[in-house]
Subunit: 310 residues, 2 copies
């Protein structure tokens, strides 16, 4: 499998899809984008990515308004918000050939399962994106920090096709690596997202610096990590205590960073409550974990974001 | 002790002080009010209380801008927000004669202790107000629901002076009763205020009906009650489980009622975070209780209301 010979579709071309898909296109991959709001602008002016002080221009972009126009591809990169997953039921079928692979770049837990249940687990890969992006105008993406991607198979060790995806991202200038256990990596990322994204909304706009500066709130953040850590271990993921400590320590350098969920919340957009809090809580409880803080945070966030539609 | 012969001062003449003090004045008690924002209006037009479809006018009100002008009295009724307690250090001394009694109508835990530490426990009484009030204009108070008051001594059984206060409120048309253990009553009230006032802010404006309508959030409210119940019992207060159940059941009739803390929060005023969440959490933890939900709620509310000054 070599991505430069393959047809790739990107479904969900917001900041994440536009950035990772745009960088692949810029490196010569054949990428077709499903777009809604930005379709006309991107057809006219292409994609512009501001990254590390440089500007990457992708002047000619294959952008489409429906997946029927795109047709079957070898790889579908899914970058929709998880709150819009129901839309995939109609969006994906036109893209699927017999061997089409699915790669979800989405946040939290439950997305690989969603795809596997509908279109077969053997198609499914997943990736974690560690990246700070902003879509600043139609077709214009600001990439202002990090950017690495970790790619793995669904419930299997990394495979040659995972390595092909990793290589393609690498050639596109994106730090990338294959992971042997995708779900373990998802739990490691959740250890940070659960407290920092969640408390930022519940405490009405608390930045990372706010949480860390308040002894009481920092302890609550660490307690939430411990609940997630216990759940992850019961589910078979070996994550050491030191990793949780490191998640707190490394956060000091983020200063007044606003977690992505807080920005979603402030801008009136749907928040990925089920993927980041609901599903980890349900899975942890099913494995026998006691998670009173996560349960309360989940219920608070559900209520606070009610009525926001994808 | 007969309140109709006594000089009474009301410190903190917002809705609570204006209502209870105004009703006593209307019934013939000699009440002097410390006022700030409403001073000029009340000197000119008196107090107006809309209650149960009637209007109670108190045309001539003794209102003062400083406690030095009021001078020593027999009874001080304290109705300041607990977030302004520090101001009492300067406000109270001019009102104190050798036997001046202090009656705090304030919310939550720690207020009697605050007074006792500074001016002696033998002066201190406390009361719980079950009342829905709104100050709608300077000197104008809307009394739209309930109104009863429960009065007790600080760390002693009810005394003759408690009965005198109860009788005076009764003659003023306010349902009142003496309680043998004031702190037990405070915990019983907190069982409701901790979850419903707290979740209303953390979940960004959840009314009583919102909390009850969501199975998950209602369970969290009940779990918070159980934490408070365990703390109260460890501190020697006998409150049955059935009382907590009743607090949920009776809440259905409140419908879309906004807890007072939610209104404070929405109007940018200080929220009584320490009295309602901080002090109960500290006392419960000191008694050996495990209160992860209350701790998290307290820390979230502290952060959410930071920078609001009394």
């Amino acid at each position: 499998m070599n991505l430069s010979d393959m047809n790739i579709a990107v479904v969900g071309s917001g900041a994440v899809g536009g950035y990772y898909g745009g960088m692949l296109a810029h490196a010569g991959c054949k990428v077709r984008f499903l777009m809604r709001a930005d379709l006309a602008a991107v057809r006219e002016r292409g994609l512009t990515i501001h990254t590390h002080g440089e500007t990457v221009e992708v002047p000619r972009v294959d952008a489409f308004g429906t997946t029927a126009e795109i047709g079957p591809v070898d790889l579908v990169i899914i970058a929709l918000k998880t709150t819009a997953n129901a839309a995939l039921e109609e969006l994906l079928p036109p893209l699927l050939g017999e061997k089409t692979a699915l790669l979800t770049l989405q946040n939290g837990l439950g997305n690989e399962e969603f795809l596997a249940e509908r279109w077969g687990g053997e198609r499914v890969m997943g990736a974690l994106c560690f990246v700070c992006l902003n879509r600043t105008a139609p077709g214009v993406i600001d990439h202002f920090d990090a950017g690495s991607i970790s790619v793995g198979e669904f419930r299997r060790p990394a495979s040659p096709r995972v390595q092909a995806v990793v290589d393609a991202f690498g050639r596109a200038g994106i730090e990338s690596r294959a992971v042997e256990n995708l779900v373990t990596e998802r739990w490691r990322k959740l250890l940070w997202n659960i407290p920092f994204n969640g408390l930022s909304i519940a405490a009405h706009g608390a930045t990372v610096a706010d949480v860390l500066a308040d002894d009481g709130l920092r302890k609550v953040a660490r307690d939430l990590m411990d609940e997630a850590l216990d759940a992850a271990r019961r589910l078979g993921h070996e994550i050491p205590d030191a990793f949780a400590d490191h998640q707190i320590d490394r956060s000091y350098s983020m200063k007044r960073y606003k977690p992505s969920s807080m920005i979603d919340w402030q801008e009136g957009r749907p928040v990925e409550v089920e993927a980041i809090w609901g599903e980890p809580w349900r899975q942890g409880v099913a494995a026998g974990a006691t998670m009173p803080r996560l349960e309360m945070l989940y219920r608070i966030l559900q209520q606070a974001t009610k009525g926001r539609h994808a």
